[in-house]
């Protein structure tokens, strides 16, 4: 029971991890030495980039678009939670729902945020100008995946079906836009490190 689905989900997750790492290594290239003399701390820059630097006071995009930002964060929270559910189901075959009174409304809100982001992409001229099929597909796939997790918690979708849906997402993850699941962290760390090295980060300026 669930043997095939678990195997498929495991293999697809492995594929996602390995292919993301391959892309990371390819992007990283040879070790890069910075010959300039540092003016600050790369580590402090990285820490700032992942902490204070993300706060509304320090980031204009967040300050000016708090609702959109919150919706984005909520959707991503739901996506991460859904991935966690899938991994738990792979690891613990007998596991059922986690805690439906909390998880179902949470995932439903997250899925709704995902749907909103898709609709916004369809109707915003600015977003359409920078979007391609992959962007729309990623939005639908993610919202669908979160909805599937919610339905699994509710009991509408069985574990085998959810694992198959998860397999599809894992298969797609490193191929398109969703690879930012890794590169968000890598890019932000790199940016923080470089600006920390030059003494730009951590910034004490609130800019407003």
């Amino acid at each position: 029971m669930q043997g095939f689905e678990r195997l498929a989900a495991t293999l697809c997750f492995g594929w996602a991890v390995i292919f993301l790492l391959v892309q990371y290594m390819a992007a990283r290239g040879a070790a890069v030495k910075d010959y300039s003399t540092p003016a600050g701390s790369p580590l402090r820059g990285m820490i700032y980039a992942f902490t204070t630097g993300m706060l509304p006071a320090h980031k204009e995009t967040v300050r000016k678009h708090p609702v959109k930002f919150l919706i984005g964060v909520t959707m991503h929270g739901g996506a991460l939670f859904s991935i966690l559910v899938a991994l738990l189901l792979i690891a613990f075959p007998g596991m059922g729902s986690i805690y439906p009174p909390v998880t179902i409304p949470f995932l439903a809100v997250c899925a709704a945020c995902g749907v909103y982001l898709f609709i916004r992409r369809v109707f915003s001229a600015n977003l359409r100008a920078m979007s391609n099929f992959d962007d729309y597909f990623a939005a639908v796939a993610t919202a669908g995946f979160i909805a599937a997790a919610a339905l699994h918690e509710y009991g509408t979708i069985g574990t085998p079906a959810f694992l198959l849906i998860s397999s599809g997402l894992f298969l797609y993850l490193p191929l398109g836009k969703l690879r930012h699941a890794l590169f968000f962290f890598v890019a932000r760390a790199d940016y923080g490190r470089r600006l920390g090295y030059r003494g730009v980060y951590p910034a004490d300026n609130r800019g407003a």
Partner: protein
Amino acid sequence: MGAAWATGACTPQTIGGHSVSPESKSPRDIHSCMDAAKEALKKAAHSLGAYHLNACVRCGLCGETCHIYIADPVPENLPGVKASKVVSFYRRYHTLSGQLLPSLVGARDITPDALDELVETVFGRCTGCGRCGINCSIGLDVGAVMRIGRKIVSAAGKTPPSLCAVVGNQLADGNQMSISPDEVRKTADWICEDLRAEMADDSVTIPVDEHGRRILYLVNPREIKFFPLSLAAAAGVFHAAGESWTVASKFFDVTNYGLFAGDDESAAHITRNVLEEAERLGVEEVILSECGHGYRSFRWEGPNWTAAKYSRPVRSILELMVQYLETHRIKADRTKNLARVTLHDPCNLVRWGGLIEAQRRILRVAVSDFVEMTPNKEQNYCCGGGGGMLSMSEYGERRIASGKIKADQIRATGAKIVATPCHNCADQLIELNKRYKLGVEILSVVELLYNALDRSKAQSPSGPA
């Protein structure tokens, strides 16, 4: 094919030594240009910049961070749209999905038409100021992505000719305005005469090509041609501090347009020329005049372009002036600058260079009424003249329009003087002052410090070390 398509101007293929002039560039056919562009992309795809090519989620929140988008809010000016044009090439050649299903993932071939569009995007719609990157919800270094775009264009020989000509001048004559060594000496002589009269001190000197001095002072050619008061002010402060210094008559240029052109090889060449000049003159330290991109180029990018640590320190004159003030080698009297002063932060100095406080420390002691713009420091708006925009006349109207937000910032401070530690920015601010009727005066930080000098504290100048 063999049809001439691009000049190949200021590309590594055409440098070939110290004496390249823009006229010597040979036409290149389309195939060689496309191959060179792909090669540049390949290099970028295996560098740290590739992290950022993979990270954009096209959320579209970046629009209002960009002064060009604010002035003209069309999708083409959105940082995300601009970045996606560069990223589309990366996807096509360096991602599996882009190779197999290009139309589904927004992957595009490098073609002559696509490159022409890229030129307009990376040179005409972006100054590389980095404000979008610092505010990106993801943490994407959009400036790095746009510079990859410039590298691709540069490799294909499609850099705007006006920008290319400046790089050509730097490679051929040692400075962007092709000023001859003789003209440098003559200008230094007459500035020195004026300064002696003004300071009532016949011992004031502006040494040129003097060996064994402590400092080689690099200046912006604009200081020689159009803004001699800047050089005079620096000379006056050096004299007051008793500094041992010299300028060079050939490789004196603090600017490096290889940065703007996306031409690292030329940029390295220009850097090496200055380092060799410093070596030849036997100075202990290189001091950079007030120049945003000059600081970024020589302080941060230069060692990596030349793949070597510098053998002597390179600092901005702002840092040196702070040192003079802190060690009491000079003293400033802020009552000599009574008008309200605000400060424009050059992007390359502050956001890319990390030199944020030195200019503020100087102004706090040199002027009576210093007010910050809002926003400021690493959040400051680009003046619109960055990224080589000032040398690309084809984008002149857009450049002035994009400076509207800067003009609004200045007006809101109520300042009568705008200080900026960058001659590029100063040029743009002078134009904004006229266009938007701001009624302000644009000065360098060192000019304000010189105005505030307490001459009674002047040291006797030291000779060669």
